[in-house]
Symmetry: C2
Subunit: 529 residues, 2 copies
């Protein structure tokens, strides 16, 4: 695989000097076009030690307009970072639409070294490479242009580079003992690199292998690749936009034609399945508790939660709670009663409304990644990433292929939380349509509740059936053992609040028992966090 | 995940009877449109025991036109099948473009049961699910519409089904002891099913979970899904065709405009990299052997190969050899000399020319899968799947995104051969451009060689540089430790033939030593075959 990057490719200083000004001009032009476009560019530089990653990053930083460019290198994760799933820091650093992010090895680094030094099995390495491919696929589907360069040196060439650095008193610090130690395992490095490149060279995020020895050649090779790919992608974006415009025009025309035609008896309706039952129909909506019982149980449960959340804080077990439900379904009340059992420094509530400018310029999952809790804390999402498959689906804000692939993206996201050891629990606060009407009316006539009722609530209500189907599919596709949906019978507010509190307590307790068991069996302890 | 399929959904007999005729008519209409279209449909039925897979397949066979439909169920692999990589039998059975294939559990069955019964680790199960996703992605990228239905029953519902069968003397044979044994592990089944559905529910091949208890409901639900998806996909195909036509028209117009304009000095050329060196430039083309030396070495090597190929036959080690190279590069001669060392019943030579009708109606890899060798045999491909990234790329027969993703598809394909224990070796028979000219001339003037020289050879020669770049990238992306490219210096035919023979011998020998070592360490024996 790397034979083609051990050819001794070179570019003379004179030729480089002649070409550099035009290349810089072209790169700036492309960057200007990108700023107007609606996608980010991710350039990943990786490869063997001293293959020229750092030098290349410096040049790109000089040649591009640095204001629309971020460069990220990663050390051992900080305490802050270790307290979240591994990809948290990469999500945080993603470039926004119209800008460029340069990443140094980044998400490849740790899994690669683990495999080279046989800290991970071949199967586990495959799984990790697959997680990376999923991550890159998620970004690419959202439009990101992903270019990955593997800077290669032959074994002798690498030795020469080390020796050249060491011979220069000003640069000798750049070669560390570790570099020579790695060099002795050169063959292991190359074998793992081959697997890495093979498994993550996808259509949407291909690797380009670049011979790293000659700086001028390497620089021009990478810049040419970036330029070509960027130009192609910009043209593609224009073409897609044109197709969308043309399709919309055509659709509008056909709509007009239909209007003028008389309606035929609709065959499709004859084939419709019987009114589909949904998981929501299985709920016993008559459930309720008396006021007296409620007062006692509420105190009990809040006390229990307080105890559990302290232990979770001590153990570093984080919790992610999601609340979705009908308008006036009782989300807010349930959240407040639950939080009544916890110390304020242990939780944060994230209310999800329309995205900010900054959020809109990123992948839709980005805004949720940034709010993940630190170790031992609780993040409560009042509405969440499920908006993608609920409101965005029903209102047509997301295209069918966008919300359809969101199920897999969401499962993957939550799996990373679970793998990190977090408790993940999702609540659907359910009320019947009649009960919602009653509550709307109550809000309408009660002065201090009027602000809660908006035009939008009425509009959403008209789409009740469409939402019900969306909820059913959401539960079917995303309720997993590790991150289940709890469907809460909410016609009686008191019952609903206790139900939520109890579910949170139960889940926390189960997780803490597992943590305790893991602590007792020290060989397995590493797998739970 | 399965809550939404335990709702007790039903359709009355009367309603079913009323709807069935229209559904059948609609399905037949869709099938007729499909026959004109250029993609296959893969319907996969899987799920819990007695969930209704068989019944559904029967109905689909009755309602669709059975002439354009194949149904495949799989038992334990036969001897024939075990001698090839696991996916061989699935590739063999794929429906051709315009037709429908119904698959019963198929590629999911073995990995699923291995995981349920803890014969495979979680990591290994992930790797296997990923291989399935890759397989389905490969087919979907080629246009296949893939619909997967998971027929679910709740634990009680499954028990009821078993008991209902047992109560009927005519049907009681359908419930075996094994079914009840599985039922006792119901929770393990469902846990593995959740993982399976989660990991392989992709945008291009989603699972639909269907409640299996009521036959009428289940049938109508599946038929409705098929109808909707098929209609959507047919419309999409039409839309894509329209976009292609419009783009082609626009491109032609722009071409005309350009022609009429005066040429500007071409900036792009100023930026061109120095004449790129390729791996082919590293070859020492002066290598040769004397006639005398050749005669001796040829006999020696053929004898060695004879011995090795007998041992491989005994050990059941299969070999896949690929020959690519320039026209008049000496492929044919090298293949013949090599086969001189083997018994004719041990090998087959597959000469790849234009695909047959049957082959053209399948994924481009299909025609190669069907020719994989049985255990211990040798398949020699004279030209191969690499046509995708050579001639199809250079001549524009494959679109850029098609040949770009072919690298990953090919690596995946060859990895399956390697995982199955096969020897995989690929030869590029290289001659210099001058030497090719000399050979063409020789063919032109030698009466018994004239048939070998065609117009196409001259046309290919004009594209020498483009082919060189394609070869370089092919080697870069597909030469792996397990399935390497051997670049053969072929200006001297004798040298080239010995080089090929030697490489085959060496590879076989290494593989047989590994097999012997594995046999001595019995715990690892299972992993080599």
């Amino acid at each position: 695989m790397f034979e083609a990057a051990e050819l001794g490719q070179k570019m003379s200083k004179a030729e480089f000097k002649e070409k550099a000004p035009l290349m810089r001009q072209k790169l700036l032009e492309a960057q200007r076009r990108l700023a107007e476009a609606n996608f980010p560019v991710i350039i990943l530089l990786s490869g063997v030690d001293k293959g020229g990653k750092g030098g290349t990053a410096s040049i790109l930083n000089t040649w591009f307009d640095a204001r629309l460019l971020v460069t990220r290198a990663y050390d051992e994760p900080t305490q802050e970072e270790r307290e979240r799933p591994e990809f948290w820091r990469f999500w945080r650093d993603l470039p926004s639409k119209g800008s460029i992010g340069i990443f140094m090895s980044a998400w490849y680094s740790r899994p690669f070294l683990d495999h080279v030094f046989e800290r991970s099995s071949d199967d586990h390495f495959s799984v990790e490479m697959e997680r990376i491919a999923d991550f890159e696929r998620t970004l690419a589907h959202d439009g990101a242009l992903i270019l990955k360069f593997w800077l290669h040196l032959g074994k002798d060439a690498q030795k020469r580079r080390f020796e050249a650095f060491e011979a220069d008193p000003l640069l000798s610090w750049r070669v560390r003992d570790q570099d020579w130690k790695h060099w002795e395992r050169y063959e292991d490095f190359v074998a793992s690199a081959e697997e890495l490149v093979k498994r993550t060279s996808t259509g949407f995020a291909p690797w380009t292998i670049v011979e790293g020895e000659d700086e001028n050649y390497r620089t021009m090779r990478i810049c040419t690749s970036i330029l070509e790919a960027l130009d192609l992608r910009l043209k593609e974006a224009e073409r897609e936009a044109r197709h969308r415009r043309e399709d919309a025009k055509r659709a509008a025309k056909e709509q007009d034609k239909k209007k003028n035609k008389k309606k035929k008896p609709d065959e499709e309706n004859e084939l419709a399945l019987p009114e589909p039952a949904t998981v929501l129909d299985t709920l016993d909506m008559s459930r309720s508790v008396t006021k007296k019982e409620y007062k006692v149980r509420l105190k009990e449960l809040q006390g229990r939660l307080n105890e559990l959340s302290r232990r979770a804080r001590d153990e570093g077990v984080s919790t992610v709670l999601v609340f979705e439900g009908w308008d006036a379904g009782g989300k807010g009340g349930a959240i407040r009663r639950m939080l009544g059992g916890m110390h304020a420094r242990n939780y944060q509530v994230i209310s999800i409304a329309a995205p900010t400018d900054e959020e809109a310029a990123q992948h839709y999952l980005w805004r949720f990644w940034r709010h993940l809790p630190r170790a031992g804390r609780v993040s409560v999402f009042d509405r969440s990433w499920y908006g993608r498959v609920l409101v965005e689906r029903v209102e047509g804000f997301a295209r069918p292929k966008e919300w359809r692939r969101a199920y897999a993206e969401i499962n993957d996201f939550e799996q990373q939380l679970v793998d990190h050891g977090d408790v993940v629990l999702k609540f659907w606060m359910h009320v019947t349509k009649d009960e919602q009407a009653r509550r709307f009316e109550e809000r309408r006539v009660t002065p201090h509740k009027q602000w809660k009722l908006t035009e939008e609530d009425w509009r959403n209500r008209e789409k009740w059936d469409a939402y019900e189907l969306a909820v059913n599919e959401m539960v079917e596709r995303t309720s997993t053992k590790a991150a289940p949906w709890v469907l809460v019978e909410g016609n009686d507010k008191r019952y609903a609040r206790l139900r939520v509190l109890e579910a949170v307590c139960d889940a926390l307790e189960r997780r803490l028992i597992r943590a305790a068991e893991a602590a007792e069996a020290p060989t397995e302890a590493g797998t739970t966090s």
